[in-house]
């Protein structure tokens, strides 16, 4: 699993990719995100909670459970309004 620092760097890059003004910084084993007028926290889940790996917490209710960094990024983008680029599903072409 990515360390808090590696995850912070990935999320910080992701904010730029999505065109969201903000910063992500490592916070222990997790990440603190200040972006789009919101503050979010990502915490590593207890290993006993697998397949949950990450918890995304906006401080307003129960944190969202994420089984992977891929799901975490999707949730974050949705929360932060990073829809500058229309999301596209991967498609595999027809065999010629």
């Amino acid at each position: 699993m990515a360390s808090g620092n590696a995850l912070a760097l990935l999320i910080d890059d992701s904010l730029r990719l999505w065109g969201v003004d903000g910063r992500a910084t490592a916070d222990g084993a997790g990440v603190r995100i200040a972006a789009a007028g919101a503050t979010l926290a990502v915490r590593a889940a207890d290993p006993a909670a697998r397949p949950v790996r990450w918890l995304l917490d906006d401080g307003a209710g129960r944190p969202d459970a994420c089984p992977s960094v891929v799901v975490l990024l999707r949730l974050l983008r949705d929360r932060l309004g990073g829809d500058r680029r229309a999301a596209r599903a991967l498609r595999v072409g027809a065999a010629g």
Binding site: A6, L7, S14, L73, R85, L90, R91
Partner: protein, 338 residues
């Protein structure tokens, strides 16, 4: 029989039609059907190209990339039907010459994904023509020209007789936009067509180009990145074979988060499940060709090497994403004892 379909693109006045005429003059390419797309109601280029009306189709309805789903697919299928009925001479190859302002990506998507076309056609290479005299200024001014270069499998630099070769500045710009595509000099369109067109799908055929481009990138987790006016080519090199699920998740996430700004992706990948047989991945934006398994590695270097060409993609982002996914997949494998 699968018919290779090559896409010939390049900005206005770059020399596409001259190059096409030279290709068609080569006896080895006599069985080539040509689809010419022209902007405006009065087509000129097809009059310059035409050898016989039977095997040339002009689309003068506007920019091909804007109407590709309807016009191009219908045209190719109608052409095939006419060939089958004996209405046009037999042909074994199609070349689509785009208008100078076309974005090739929608054309490539149609060729890669249309189920009806897929049964009888395979995307060949994308050949982009760049003018040695004005190419650099054109790249500066026109984003369409940058996209055409970024999407190319081969870049032909035309009018090199007038410019005294390929200007170093232009070569540098093109290398930054697309380090994977070989750059070939043409004088009045003179270039061996077999250096431009492949026998079939270009993915596996171009592994050598990819390997050479990445050899120039050096080593390390983020092997290299080239930048030119917002378009970056980012190289990833990984020593350890990737679990197949990690590669799948990575490609899905690239498509999901980069959208239309992911221009091109090519890679040769060592999969943990079959490390002796590399997989070639090859895509345009969010659309991938079906992966191709090679029988063996093309050389001694058995590392995974992937190049991502995109617009405004942070240089470290793909590598950081890939590493995070690999780490999670490894942890999940340990957890399951697999």
């Amino acid at each position: 029989m699968t018919i290779p379909v090559a896409v010939l693109t390049g900005f206005l006045g770059s020399g596409k039609t001259t190059l096409l005429r030279r290709i068609l003059a080569d006896p080895r390419y006599a069985g080539t059907a040509v689809i010419v797309n022209e902007l405006g109601a009065v087509g000129l280029d097809h009059d310059l190209v035409a050898r016989s009306e039977e095997d040339l189709v002009a689309l003068a309805t506007g920019c091909l990339c804007c109407s590709v789903r309807g016009d191009l697919v219908r045209t190719l299928l109608e052409l095939e039907a006419r060939r089958a009925a004996g209405g046009v001479p037999p042909y074994g190859r199609v070349v689509i010459e785009t208008s100078g302002l076309a974005d090739p990506a929608p054309i490539l998507h149609a060729l890669m994904t249309d189920a009806d076309l897929g049964a009888g056609h395979a995307l060949d290479r994308v050949v982009t023509v760049v003018d040695a005299l004005h190419g650099e200024a054109t790249l500066d001014r026109h984003p369409e020209a940058r996209r055409q270069a970024a999407l190319a499998d081969r870049i032909v630099v035309s009018k090199t007789d007038l410019a005294g070769g390929i200007p170093a500045e232009l070569a540098g710009r093109l290398a930054a936009l697309n380090p994977m595509a070989p750059r070939l000099a043409a004088v009045a369109g003179a270039i061996a067509p077999d250096r431009l067109l492949a026998a079939g799908g270009a993915g596996a055929a171009d592994v050598g180009d990819l390997v050479r481009a990445l050899a120039r990138a050096g080593d390390g987790p983020a092997a290299g990145a080239w930048h030119s006016q917002g378009i970056a080519a980012i190289a990833l090199v990984r020593d350890a074979p990737l679990p197949a699920v990690a590669l799948t998740l990575f490609l899905q996430a690239l498509a999901e988060h980069c959208g239309a700004d992911l221009l091109r992706l090519k890679g040769i990948v060592a999969l943990a499940e079959a490390p002796e047989r590399p997989v070639v991945v090859h895509g345009v934006q969010h659309v991938l060709h079906p992966p191709e398994w090679l029988e063996r590695w093309p050389g001694d270097d058995r590392r995974t090497r992937i190049v991502v060409i995109g617009r405004a993609i942070p240089g470290q982002w793909p590598g950081r994403l890939l590493d995070a996914i690999i780490a999670e997949v490894a942890e999940e494998s340990r957890r399951r004892g697999t």
